[in-house]
């Protein structure tokens, strides 16, 4: 295709992506270099019969004016990145100096907002992704061996948790595991503890969120693997059977190797989607024990009346760096394939 024709064809989509994805990243970066204005304080002296008293009050009009004039706030350089809410170099250094064991050091670091969110996000991603891959494969093999009348309906039922709005899906589950809900009540019955609540402890909250993640994303890997199973060459399977391979051996040595390209594709998709975990934390109101990177950005922006654009911007930049870091292997491989494609 000629350069000229290409340009006109790509123009609308490229304009949309530049204006609303690339430029906002720049804007996020610029924002992260500023902090919001401090309130303008006026010190006034009240002199009464018992001497003079100094009182400090906020000059609301002046503060408003300052915010109007420079909505970005005041320049702070990279200060926001290194403060307590983000990379917290000073706090991490202090924790390292004062704590005796790695565990004590870790406990202190995890209590810092950014590291806490990063830990949860990575734990969630690292727990959900392999579970979903394994269970998805197992269920795909199971459904594939069902009589064909059941295959369509089971795919239909499986699609529900995947396509349902994440906020809605997690609400549905939350109402069930809530201490007044059906699963919550049954769990209380099993453990014979009427006060048991899944929201009470961090470990239970994390487990609940991870189980939700598995429930929500499992259908994706199941369906991709199921589609892959339809293309497994029958001759190879028969040849393996003739050679005396058991069903288990055929699965491990014929089916799984055939699915390897799919496995890397599913892993990539799962990593991208799990890394942005956000809605379930809102639905489960789990923020007391579990916060993800997306959630702390949302929270900064929601800060009532006075959104912390600088802080949200800094967390966003760090998150984007994390995404690029996660994707590097894929990008490198695709680049090699592209160059290898004969150019």
């Amino acid at each position: 295709m000629k350069h000229r024709a290409f340009f006109w064809f790509i123009l609308p989509t490229l304009a949309a992506m530049t204006l609303f994805i690339a430029l906002p990243i720049v804007s996020v970066f610029v924002q992260s270099l500023y902090v919001q204005h401090e309130q303008v304080l006026v010190i006034s002296e009240n002199c009464g019969p018992f001497g003079c008293k100094q009182s400090t009050s906020v000059d609301i009009a002046a503060t408003e004016k300052l915010r109007e004039e420079a909505p970005l706030g005041q320049f702070n350089g990279l200060g926001t990145y290194s403060n307590r809410s983000h990379l917290a170099f000073a706090e991490v250094g202090a924790a390292w100096a004062t704590s005796d064991t790695i565990d004590a050091f870790w406990d202190e670091v995890v209590n810092l907002p950014f590291y806490g969110a990063l830990t949860f996000t990575l734990t969630y991603t690292a727990a959900v992704t392999p579970l979903v891959l394994l269970l998805g494969l197992a269920i795909a093999i199971g459904v594939n061996s069902l009589p064909s009348i059941f295959k369509g309906p089971s795919i239909f039922v499986s699609l529900l948790p995947f396509l349902v709005t994440p906020l809605v899906g997690s609400l549905i589950l939350f109402w069930m595991v809530d201490s007044d809900g059906v699963i919550g009540a049954i769990i209380q019955l099993i453990f014979d503890d009427p006060n048991l609540s899944l929201k009470a402890s961090a470990a239970l909250t994390w487990t609940m969120l991870i189980l939700y993640g598995v429930w929500h994303t499992l259908p994706f890997s199941f369906i991709v693997f199921y589609a892959g199973l339809q293309t497994v060459p029958l001759e190879t399977l028969e040849a393996a059977q003739v050679d005396g391979a058991t069903k288990w051996q055929r699965t491990i040595y014929v089916v799984v190797p055939h699915l390897v390209p799919l496995i890397s594709f599913v892993t990539l998709m799962l990593l991208m989607d799990n890394f942005r975990v956000f809605e379930p934390i809102v639905s489960f109101s789990a923020e007391a024990h579990a916060r993800s990177l997306s959630w702390i950005i949302f929270n900064d922006l929601r800060e009532s009346g006075n959104p912390l654009y600088g802080s949200a911007g800094a967390t966003s930049m760090l998150t984007i760096l994390g995404v690029v870091f996660l994707l590097t292997p894929v990008l490198i491989r695709t680049w090699r394939d592209f160059k290898g494609a004969g150019r």
């Binding site: 109402w175 009540a185 589609a227 390209p261 594709f265 956000f278 995404v323």
Partner: protein, 293 residues
Amino acid sequence: MTKQTKRRVTFGRIISLSLVCTWLCLAAFPFIWTLWGSFKVQSDFFSKADWMNALWGTNTLEQTGSAFTSSGYQGAWVIEKFWENFLNTGIVVLSTVVVSLTFGTLGGYALARSGFRYAFWILMAALVFRAMPHITLVSGYLLPFFEWNIWGHLPTTIIVLVAINQPFTLWMLHSFFLNIPKDMDESAMIDGCSRFQAFRLVIVPVMWPGVITTGLFSFLLAYNDFAVTAMLLSEENETIIPAINSFLGTTQVEGKVMYAVAAVVSATAPLFVLILFFQRQIVSGLTAGAVKG
């Protein structure tokens, strides 16, 4: 010997069958339970006394005289005016799908037919954009949008959702157009068509299956979005998903939680219908990226 092999096979089958059955129950049960419970009163659906109440509707019978009540739906749709949010969602989703498919088909076609290096870089950039959490972008929108006074309006949200949709749409349609033989449009161009005429007369008539599949996913992305719509829409323009979330914030009063339950069921219904009619296209769309690697 044969007997032994047979038994081992059946054992494996039992395990895999029970796994499938467990999964299907886990997948379907929450939806059935919530649908059933949405016709009860709060003290049944969130029963402090006995969870079996939600099944038989003991308190519902006591309070309303019947085992089923539509008061949750009435509250959500009539009192809380949920239909306005539904209308907003309809406008946002429909416009997003139409605009992003128009942009996406043109761009995806160009990328599929161009072997130049910049086409590759556009695809790579789109992959990175696709992976970014949407909320990171939202924090970049807010300040400029407030400054230009375009915050809170439906068109702003539509164009933002279109842009966020583009990376995905581009990738999907790009791999779809790769499967349409180059010879088709090239022979049209030899016959004297311009590039755009070849696209309009030769490619457009055969591209609909791929466009419909991509459209389904654009629909889902726009419909399911929470981060963008919650932050960029003012209260009167809210779509259903942020509206459900604000229901929860304001309705801790007895009985009103059922409004949220009814709203949740109402929000799931369109998706249910969508899967019912387009199951095949959705499955093929999910695997389209995989087949191409």
